[in-house]
């Protein structure tokens, strides 16, 4: 019997006419590791919700066809029962933890399914150990980092002992190190414990090769379902951005063979061993804004300890560093939204900051009001305001949504709106804090182009990001941070080919920074030369 099976499933959310699932047929066998990829809004989350009966019991709407989990039809069994057979881990750790203490969090599911009280504590502890999180038992869930939070979410599912684990973009909020660790944990659970895993993800880098099967979704349908190499060949044409970056480079170069991992790519290219590139630091003339020897305490943490960095006009600078390195703090200081304890900020006072959580930007009831808000607050007269707002909506492709409620937009549109609401003020420096969270590859490319377009108009653009493959595509300079200090200020982008963790997959495999550069080199037949 299949662990999970969809038979001709069609589903529409309440009040929508366009079905989110439009004839999905899929069988997942026990013990498989299945990766689901597809454009944002194609129905990945809906599919996973349907597997647990949340669609339709929690969300309502119209359903046709049959979904069975362990042989149980989700129409007849509510999520409360299905939770004994399958567990779901969501994208945002902060949104899915229900209890205050980690210990209670892991016990919550067991309590809900009326597990015998005497053994709850023991099972919870065992699950925490299996998820590599037993040291967190007594912590408050509010104090966990993103990676720790996701581990607890997985432990909570493991504790219930379900044979099927569903994960909806579990790494999209994590830094590269934490994401790697989490995916390693998931593959280990699958290999060592025989838990069936179905995982939806945009950053497919590592998982693509490890999966037993890759399912490609498109507008509510399954357009491909097969082994990773075949899936890679299927995607090489139209859906290249769903591939791991190395495979993207090979596909862009029109090569037949599509290596999915750095190791395979190097094997393909012969023995290419990248040597560290020279450290050339090319600062621009006077930076638009410079932060000098900044010290800042936030709460109990020393967020900045002597950080110095500048942002050059006409340049896209990527700011990289692990969780808690102080990247957001640096940006807030540069935008003069936080006062420094020591040190100073020089240069333009016209900086725009788009926060890490785009939901924080949505203050008004219509898209148009949202863009105009900053102009209203800074006292721009009405006629000029209207012109500037209209122009900005046009430029960000939001004109059609002018009267919509911002919260009714898709995540990609919301992100664009948040950027538009800041660029309308014509800042000299635009700071985008983690703009690619949960974005699909296509939208990331568009955002990268937008950043470069703004830079070519003379704005200094800073991209604070965990997504190194994105930085490799969009940035011209790289600033790296750790422990509240700046390690390298505006290093040339070739740095991204030399580091260990701060190197994209393409760079590790070929020695070139971006997909396009690597593809050119591959096409020219020149053996990947090191930068």
């Amino acid at each position: 019997m299949a662990a999970l099976s969809f038979m001709e499933v069609r589903y529409a959310y309440p009040g929508t006419s366009q079905p989110a699932l439009d004839g999905v047929t899929l069988d997942v066998e026990p013990g498989e590791l299945v990766l689901i990829v597809g454009e944002s809004g194609c129905g990945k989350s809906t599919l996973l919700r349907a597997a647990l009966g949340l669609v339709p019991h929690f969300h309502g709407g119209e359903l046709a066809g049959r979904v069975t989990v362990d042989g149980l039809d989700t129409r007849d069994h509510r999520p409360g029962e299905l939770a004994r057979h399958a567990g779901l881990v969501f994208q945002d750790p902060e949104a899915q933890l229900v209890a205050q203490r980690v210990r209670h969090e892991v016990a919550f599911g067991l309590e809900s399914i009326a597990h015998p009280p005497a053994t709850i504590a023991a099972r919870a502890q065992e699950a925490l150990m299996a998820a590599g999180a037993s040291h967190l038992t007594e912590r408050d869930t509010g104090t966990l980092s993103g990676g720790e939070g996701q581990r607890i979410a997985i432990a909570s599912v493991l504790a219930m002992g379900q044979p099927l684990l569903l994960l909806d973009e579990p790494t999209s909020q994590l830094d590269p190190v934490a994401a790697e660790e989490l995916l390693a944990l998931v593959t280990r659970i699958n290999r060592d414990r025989g838990v069936t895993v179905v995982l939806a993800e945009h950053r497919t880098g590592r998982l693509f090769a490890e999966a037993d099967r890759v399912v490609v979704m498109d507008a509510g349908r399954i357009s491909f379902d097969g082994a990773p190499p075949a899936a890679a060949r299927h995607l090489a044409g139209g859906g290249r951005w769903m591939l791991p970056p190395v495979a993207q480079a090979f596909a862009a170069a029109g090569r037949e063979e599509l290596p999915l991992t750095v190791r395979d790519a190097r094997r393909e290219l012969g023995d290419v061993r990248s040597s560290p590139p020279p450290l050339a630091v090319a600062h621009g003339a006077a930076p638009v804004v410079s932060v000098e020897k900044a010290h800042l305490r936030r709460g109990d943490a020393e967020a900045l300890r002597g950080a110095s960095a500048g942002f050059d006009a006409g340049t896209v600078t990527a700011v990289l560093g692990e969780n808690g390195a102080g990247k957001s703090s640096l940006a807030l200081v540069a935008a003069r939204l936080l006062e420094l304890d020591r040190g100073r900020v020089r240069g333009s006072t016209r900086a725009g900051y788009v926060s890490q959580n785009p939901a924080h930007h949505l203050l008004r009831e219509t898209v148009e009001d949202e863009v105009a808000y900053g102009l209203v607050r800074s006292g721009v007269p009405a006629p000029e305001r209207a012109v500037r707002t209209a122009a900005e909506l046009e430029r960000f492709g939001l004109a059609a949504f002018a009267d919509r409620h911002p919260r009714d937009l898709s995540s990609g549109e919301r992100q664009r709106l948040a950027v538009a609401s800041v660029t309308v003020m014509r800042p000299d420096l635009l700071l985008l804090d983690e703009p690619t969270r949960g974005m699909d590859g296509l939208r990331k490319l568009a955002l990268g182009e937008l950043a470069m377009a703004l830079a070519s108009e003379g704005t200094a653009v800073a991209l604070i990001t965990h997504d190194i493959d994105f930085a490799a595509e969009a940035a011209q300079a790289v600033t790296t941070m750790a422990h509240g200090r700046v390690l390298a200020d505006r290093a040339p982008r070739s740095e991204l080919a030399g580091g260990l963790f701060f190197s994209g997959q393409v760079a590790l495999a070929t020695g070139h920074v971006s997909v396009a550069e690597a593809a050119d080199a591959l096409q020219a037949g020149t053996e990947a030369t090191r930068v």
Binding site: A12, P14, E62
Partner: protein, 203 residues
Amino acid sequence: MSSLVLILAVGCVVLGVAGVERGPNRSKELALIAALAAAAAGGRVLFAFVPNVQPVTIIVAVTGATLGPRAGIAVGGSAALLSNAFLGQGPWTPWQMIGWGLVGATAGMLPRLLRNRFALAAFGIAWGFLFDWLMDVWAWSALGQNADATSFLAFVSTGIPFDVAHATGNVVIALIAGPTLIRMLDRYARRLHASFSPMEGTT
């Protein structure tokens, strides 16, 4: 006197809790009430340094008016309990729970009226005073045999500047945010009851 007042307060809280217990036990309702209470409490803590802007009263009133008295009581009571975890828990906590619980309950009885923003503002003024007076009851009751109308007036008059500020804060929030909040919660109340149906045109 103080004993009587203590018993009365505990009784009111127990009554409110009993009312909430008789409500539905669905995850959506519980999470919604919890989130509104957390928003009210979070706003109270955040705005603690903006003099006398108390988002709690209006948020609770709007909840009562749109989701009913039970939800109003639950949001009011838990917002008081939670925000005091930061601002200081004490014998005044039950009084604040009762005060905001009553705000929610009375708002729940005036659902039509409070959809008008000026009515909501007037409601905010009234409760701005009533709420603060209720807070005085506790200290007043400690006067024992001296706890009479005169001494209550004395307590109330020392607090008038605060009452006025609290009421003004309510008016500002009611006028600026009230209509939006009502629309938002109305839209949301409709989503609470999910039901699914078979899709047409298929077997």
